[in-house]
């Protein structure tokens, strides 16, 4: 008995130590991130500065730690790859949706396709590198950038203030607002009319979720972590309505009979833009230039006609497409 309890206590001790250690590590990583703006200028002169200011005790300690930790320290310092590093490696990692037709999905041949992917292909072509598509879910898009698992997120990523604090957005390439779709025999036309026991389906990590949590805290949300699951649940009749990007709910009601978009536009008009890891200036600048340049050839209108026309028809072309990064 005593021995056993001792083992348990040991486990607790060990686990707290591990947590503590990882927290200390993460804490300093976070601090590093916060100082990126400053440290970036610093980096250029860092080596020289460090030699000169060897007297500075803290910095000396830091560099000693860095020397000790070797790789780990390097990883936390630069999680992202600069434009040159990407070109050198010959492959760019782009995070896209694999289940959000017609923006990012895997077609019947197993190839990635859609509005976002069409743009991704262009990026790969103009950079002269191969593309490695990484399938993402709504809730882990920021994580993928912050941990350097992808170079660019092109997964229908709506620009919001909260997200802009965590990642860097390039120029927008699409307009979006929120929308609510519901079964045609019981259309939800106003969120105020949603009953106390009714549930609205949302996807975890989307702007629809944040908007409803903030503005309608009393409405019960039924959250799913992937598009495919939310769709199936909604088709099965779980929940009175589904709130999501209006592009998505319009597409859903056009593709599935018996569903009507009761609220076509909700909240602020937002834009969708590519995102890169916070601080990755070289890639961000290149992306912005690229969006402006290809805008001159009306690239995104071509993109719309190639990928979205079948779903939305020509009516939505000018409402949805943002050309050359300029919102009208």
């Amino acid at each position: 008995m005593k021995k056993n309890l001792l083992t348990k206590l040991g486990t607790i001790l060990v686990s707290t130590t591990i947590i503590g250690a990882s927290l200390a590590g993460c804490g300093s990583a976070k601090a590093d991130n916060a100082e990126t703006a400053i440290s970036e200028e610093d980096t250029a002169t860092a080596d020289a500065a460090k030699e000169q200011e060897a007297g500075d005790a803290e910095e000396a300690q830091e560099s000693a730690e860095e020397a000790g930790d070797g790789e780990e320290a390097q990883d936390t310092d630069a999680v992202y790859r600069t434009l040159d590093e990407i070109k050198e490696s010959g492959t760019i990692n782009i995070g896209v949706f694999s289940d959000k037709s017609p923006f990012g999905y895997v077609d019947e041949n197993g190839e990635y396709a859609g509005y976002d992917v069409y743009f991704a292909e262009k990026i790969g072509e103009d950079l002269g590198v191969d593309i490695n598509y990484v399938s993402t879910e709504a809730a882990n898009r920021i994580e993928y950038l912050q941990t350097g698992k992808v170079d660019i997120i092109l997964a229908n990523f709506t620009v919001t203030e909260e997200r802009a604090q965590e990642v860097d957005f390039a120029l927008p390439y699409m307009n979006v607002a929120l929308g609510v779709v519901s079964p045609s025999d019981n259309v939800v036309e106003s969120l105020d009319s949603v009953g106390a026991d009714d549930q609205i389906i949302v996807i975890s990590g989307t702007t629809a979720e944040t908007y409803l949590e903030k503005n309608y805290p009393d409405i019960k949300l039924q959250k799913y972590d992937a598009y495919a699951e939310a769709k199936t649940a909604f088709e099965n009749g779980n929940g009175v309505a589904w709130a999501n990007d209006n592009t998505e709910v319009i597409a859903f009601s056009l593709e599935n009979e018996g569903f009507t978009v009761g609220i076509p536009s909700l909240g602020d008009a937002d834009t969708i833009a590519p995102a890169v890891t916070k601080g990755n200036e070289s890639l961000l600048t290149w992306l912005n230039d690229e969006i402006e340049t290809i805008g001159e050839d009306n690239f995104f209108h071509q993109d719309y006609e190639a990928t979205l026309l079948d779903t939305y028809g020509a009516d939505y072309e000018n409402t949805l497409v943002v050309e050359g990064g300029k919102v009208q």
Partner: protein, 219 residues
Amino acid sequence: MDLNVLRSYIPLYNEALLLTLKTGLLGILTAFAIGLSGAAAIYFNVPVVKKVLGIYIELFRNTPLLVQLFFIYFALPKLGLRISAETCGILGLGLIGGAYMIETMRSGLFSIDRVQSESALSLGMTDRQVFFHIILPQAFSVSMPGIMANVIFLLKETSVFSTISLMDLMFTAKDLIGMYAKTIECLFLLVIYYLIMLLPVSILGSIIERRVRYAEFGD
């Protein structure tokens, strides 16, 4: 690490802990009930039931809980059977846990030497008495470590509930990260809460293990 953020998330995590514990415990009770009756049925060699149980065990032990939940939650409504997310979670845990529990308890029952039941019978005890007073207590003692392992396994399996929109601990953390991107705080709380939930279970388990030892024969 932002302490204010931690504090503001704690109510949400408490809610998630309650839900996890509630579905977890009900699921474990179901699993236990299935396990006990199933193991007894196999021990007494009930003709048809034994075959059916064999199929059940193979089916549920060799498919992931995630797949089972998918089936119960997404496919059954298409066949006209609607189950709430919470019931679905409990049912899923109960069914997969039941399959594991049957195997664990069966091994316990069969580990008791035949000599014992024969001796008890020759002393004039009824079949019923032999099972409940001689075989079962010893079988429990033998299979207790396995049962506790299953209990902890089942509590941890609740982490796949996000598929069926149940806001368990894991999904709450993922959801908050998706909304506010406070990754470190969320994951820290997640580890802490799982420890808060599982360490007492684990300690309780070792205490129970000692307690049921009294039944063991010839120790």
